[in-house]
Structures are given as structure tokens and as C-alpha cells.
């Protein structure tokens, strides 16, 4: 059984993507030649419109998908070269928060957080209890330990999922749309938790999101992805000051721009003429 005392990332660069391309089929590439470096201890956001390939990057980092070209390195290991056992060993050191929490609906809040501890350690029930309560306390939900996931609000569910994701003290945290569908208070709480947990536990965080305002408050660096390519990057200060058309459209929430309002189609007049 592995120790629950998870080491911090052994390399200066926690995650590195070099020349990564991916597509579910050859005709429609989702990602094209992505280069990305995420240093240890930082909170990095990957932003872009829906369908731009953000979540695919996260899935490549977690080893759920294999790149068609290029290399994904996590803590110095080439993820696509790992066999299943080695990949699972790496994943024990990675926490992931899913878009809607992905809590196990047949387990209580307590058992959800205890799940990775029970699966991967041989700790006594008493120790697991203390650890679970500590994690739940960190997200402010120690009092909800005995509730079932169906009794939680969206924001509470996300916080429980966060407690579960950090149960094994990971070296790397992956967040898939952590702010989606949350009210402003829950959104602020989750944002602050991401930053605080990152700093307190000395981990590295990759946040996939399209919430620009919350991200600018908590992250160290931002990559903008559009149509499978990195189109801009920078610190929050650089993003705020950027004159780049894509960044401006994203920050200002303009409906049309480099990301077009209309899906690719023949000209409207041509379409009408064809119907006539």
C-alpha cells in the first residue's frame, strides 16, 4: 500500500505538453500542436469557449486520452508511455474535480471523501475518520458529513468533491469547469478554496474554465485556447492589459469577433436561393 503522505512534484515543471495534437477521428482535430508549461506550485487556467478543446487537455494530462502526436509529461513522466499500473500509480498523486462533482450517489458525504483513503491505504477506521473530518473541515462542510449527495446544493457538492480530490494530498490538482452553474457566493468560495488549498498543500493546479472574472482573481497564469490551438497567454495583469482581439472578446464578453457568432455555413442569401 502506498503511503498517504504524498510527495510534492519532484520536478520544477509539474506538467509539460509539447507539440500535442489530438482528435477523436483523423478528419476533425480537437487539438493541434499544443505547447504548454505549468511550473510546480502554480495555479494555471486554461480558458476558451465551449468546445475549444480545454477539457481534452485535462483528459490528456490525466492519461484518460492518448495524444496522436507530441508528448504529455507529468512530474517528469511521459503519460502516454505508462502502462496501466504505472498510470494508476501516477493518478494516485493527481486529484481531479469533475464539472458536476461526480460524487458517488450511493455513498454519504463522509464515505465519498473516505473512498480514496479506503481504496489506497490500510489506515484504521479511526485515522480515516480524522482525516476525512479534516478535509471536510477545510472546505467548511464537516457538519454535512452524514448527508447524502442528493441532499447537497450544487456548491456544497462541488466542495465535497474537492475534499475528496485532495484526500490523498495530491501533488497536482485538475479542475474541470469548477465554477459552472454556481451562485456568486459558492463561486467565490470554490475559487478561494482552489487558491488556498494550492498554497497550503504546496500542490500545482490546472483549472479549465470559461469564467474569466473568477479566474483573474485566483490564478497565476492563463492560457487561451481556441479551435484546438493556444491563441494567447499571460499573467492576469497581462490579460487585463492585453489588446489581443481574442483576449479582448473573451474578457469583454463580445458576442462576435475572432470567435464568430455564427457556426460555419453557406451565405444566407445562397441558402434562400437554393430553397427557392
Amino acid at each position: 500500500m502506498p503511503s498517504i503522505v504524498a510527495p510534492t512534484c519532484p520536478t520544477e515543471t509539474a506538467v509539460e505538453l509539447s507539440g500535442v495534437s489530438f482528435g477523436y477521428d483523423r478528419r476533425r482535430p480537437v487539438l493541434t500542436s499544443i505547447d504548454m508549461t505549468i511550473p510546480r506550485g502554480r495555479v494555471v487556467a486554461i480558458m476558451g469557449a465551449s468546445g475549444s478543446g480545454k477539457t481534452t487537455i485535462l483528459r490528456l494530462i490525466g492519461g484518460a486520452l492518448q495524444p496522436q502526436a507530441g508528448k504529455v509529461m507529468v512530474a517528469g513522466q511521459d503519460v502516454s508511455a505508462l502502462d496501466r499500473d504505472a498510470l494508476f500509480a501516477l493518478r494516485r498523486r493527481i486529484g481531479m474535480l469533475f464539472q458536476f462533482g461526480a460524487l458517488f450517489t450511493d455513498l454519504s458525504v463522509f464515505e465519498n471523501v473516505a473512498f480514496p483513503l479506503r481504496e489506497h491505504t490500510d489506515l484504521t477506521d479511526l485515522l480515516i475518520r480524522d482525516l476525512v473530518l479534516m478535509k471536510l473541515n477545510a472546505v467548511g462542510l464537516r457538519g454535512a458529513a452524514q448527508l447524502m449527495p442528493s441532499e447537497l446544493s450544487g456548491g456544497m457538492g462541488r466542495r465535497v468533491a474537492l475534499a475528496r480530490a485532495v484526500a490523498l494530498d495530491p501533488m497536482l490538482m485538475l479542475y474541470d469547469e469548477p465554477f459552472a452553474g454556481l451562485d456568486p457566493i459558492s463561486l467565490g468560495v470554490v475559487g478561494q478554496l482552489i487558491r488556498k488549498l494550492n498554497d497550503a498543500l504546496g500542490i500545482t493546479s490546472v483549472v479549465v474554465t470559461h469564467d474569466i472574472y473568477e479566474s483573474l482573481k485566483i490564478v497565476d497564469y492563463i492560457y487561451f485556447v481556441s479551435e484546438g490551438r493556444i491563441v494567447a497567454m499571460g499573467t492576469p495583469a497581462e490579460v487585463r492589459a492585453s489588446e489581443d482581439a481574442f483576449v479582448r472578446q473573451f474578457v469583454d464578453g463580445e458576442p462576435d469577433g475572432p470567435v464568430p457568432f455564427h457556426y460555419q455555413a453557406a451565405p444566407l442569401a445562397e441558402e434562400f436561393a437554393r430553397a427557392g
Partner: protein, 267 residues
């Protein structure tokens, strides 16, 4: 027929064949993985016991009630027909053999597919839709060991027990109708049944059938759940497929098993 239309039909047939072969290969690989991860289901006995509760204990009501009514109908219909030939006293033999050899395993298998099989598919399909399966994999926990294998073995253990209870209730139902209501002699009813039904091959063949049906139903149920498209429509389609495929599998397997079981008996 123009060449274009022939090409279109051939392409469609080719695609459908390719899909079927690919799905067959995937299901065979799935079965191998379930067997490979089965020791995990026994190491985590609590998980398998939980599944026996969900598949078996919670199916008890429908099995017992159905068994009772099937037995009562058998008693009524059987006596009516047998009595025309002056063989009303053979009701015990007729009911016992029908239930133990055929109706017990087959009807309980069909009910099991509808009650437990559909529930297993829906549960695994929804776990996939809500990313619980993906979350498990990201936590370095194999869903085959944690989700699929316990449900598979829970179903296999439950099915023969449910089939046995179905047959017992059926015999009881036939006894109530035949002996208590119609007036067949109680001693004749039980005596003929005991004399005609042998543990080998009658009861053992029934047990073999119910075990095979249990394997077929739960394998189809876990496979369809795991393979479901992660949408509301996908889960609904997968659940329907489980009931249809499992029911057809039971009926086809029943015929095949019966052929093998009657081999050498001169039929």
C-alpha cells in the same frame, strides 16, 4: 437497380456487419476483463453481498408472487387437462416437472432480467453519465473491480436461489389449487411428485439452467450499462436493450440446454 443504390445498400450492410463484429469483440473482451477482476469481487465481499441484496433480496416479492400465481394456474390448467384422460392424480408430477425443469428457471430468469437486469444497467449507465466511473478511474480505482465484478457475481449468486424459491412457491400454489380447492388427494400429490422427480437429472438440470441464465442476464446487464451512451436517451436505450437481449438469450439458451440435457434419452 442502379449501381449507386446497390453501392449504398452494400455500404450500409457492410457498416452494420462491421459494427456487430466490433461489438461482439468488445463484449468478449469485456467478459474476459470481468473474469480477470472477479477475485476482487470476493476480496471485497461486502460489495458483492450488497449486490446480492439489491439483485436478489429486492427481487423476492415479484419472484414469490409470480411463482405462486404461475403454480396456481398450472394446478388449475393441469388438473383440467389431466382429468380428461383420467390422470388427475398425476397433477403433482406435472406441476413438479414443469416447474423444476422449465418454468422455474425460465420465468424467474425473465423476471430477473426485467427487475434486476434493467436496474443494474440503469445504475451503471447513470454512473457513467454523471462521470462517477470516470472519477473512479481518475482516483486509480478500476471500475471493473469496484462496480462491474461485484454486480456480476451478485447476479450469478442470486439467480439460482430466486429460481429455486420461484419453483417452491409454484409447487405450493399448485398444491393450494389442486389439493385444497379441487380435492386431489394430498398423499397422491406429494407421493407422485417425489417418485417422479429425481435430484439428478431434474433438479440439477434446473439449477444448471438458472446459473447459465444468471450469467447471461448479468453479463448483458453490466455490459449494456458500461457501454451506454452517457446521455438520458443512451441510458434508456441501454436499459431496453438489456431486457430484450437478456430475454431472448434466456429463451435461446433454454432450448440449447434442453437439447443437451435430453441427449441420450432417446428423444
Amino acid at each position: 437497380m442502379p449501381a449507386e443504390a446497390i453501392g449504398f445498400v452494400l455500404r450500409r450492410v457492410g457498416r452494420a456487419t462491421q459494427r456487430s463484429i466490433s461489438r461482439l469483440g468488445f463484449s468478449a473482451r469485456f467478459f474476459a476483463l470481468v473474469i480477470y477482476h472477479s477475485p476482487a469481487a470476493f476480496r471485497r465481499l461486502g460489495l458483492t453481498l450488497r449486490e446480492i441484496y439489491f439483485s436478489g433480496v429486492l427481487s423476492l416479492v415479484i419472484m414469490l408472487v409470480s411463482g405462486l400465481f404461475v403454480g396456481m394456474v398450472l394446478g388449475l390448467q393441469g388438473y383440467d387437462t389431466l382429468n380428461k384422460y383420467g390422470a388427475g392424480d398425476s397433477l403433482g408430477i406435472f406441476v413438479g416437472l414443469s416447474l423444476v425443469r422449465e418454468l422455474g428457471p425460465v420465468v424467474s430468469g425473465l423476471l430477473f432480467a426485467s427487475r434486476a437486469g434493467s436496474a443494474i444497467t440503469a445504475e451503471i449507465g447513470l454512473m457513467k453519465t454523471t462521470e462517477q466511473i470516470a472519477a473512479m478511474e481518475m482516483m486509480a480505482v478500476d471500475p471493473f473491480a469496484r462496480v462491474v465484478a461485484p454486480r456480476f457475481w451478485g447476479g450469478i449468486v442470486s439467480m439460482p436461489l430466486l429460481a429455486a424459491l420461484f419453483s417452491v412457491m409454484g409447487v405450493f400454489g399448485a398444491y393450494v389449487v389442486g389439493v385444497r380447492l379441487i380435492g386431489v388427494d394430498s398423499g397422491t400429490f406429494w407421493g407422485n411428485m417425489r417418485a417422479a422427480i429425481d435430484f439428478w437429472p431434474d433438479i440439477t438440470n434446473g439449477i444448471i439452467k438458472s446459473v447459465v441464465f444468471g450469467i447471461a442476464v448479468t453479463l448483458i446487464a453490466v455490459f449494456e450499462g458500461y457501454d451506454a451512451t452517457p446521455t438520458a436517451e443512451g441510458v434508456s436505450t441501454a436499459t431496453t436493450r438489456t431486457v430484450v437481449e437478456a430475454s431472448l438469450a434466456i429463451l435461446a439458451l433454454d432450448f440449447l440446454l434442453t437439447v443437451f440435457m435430453f441427449r441420450g434419452t432417446g428423444i
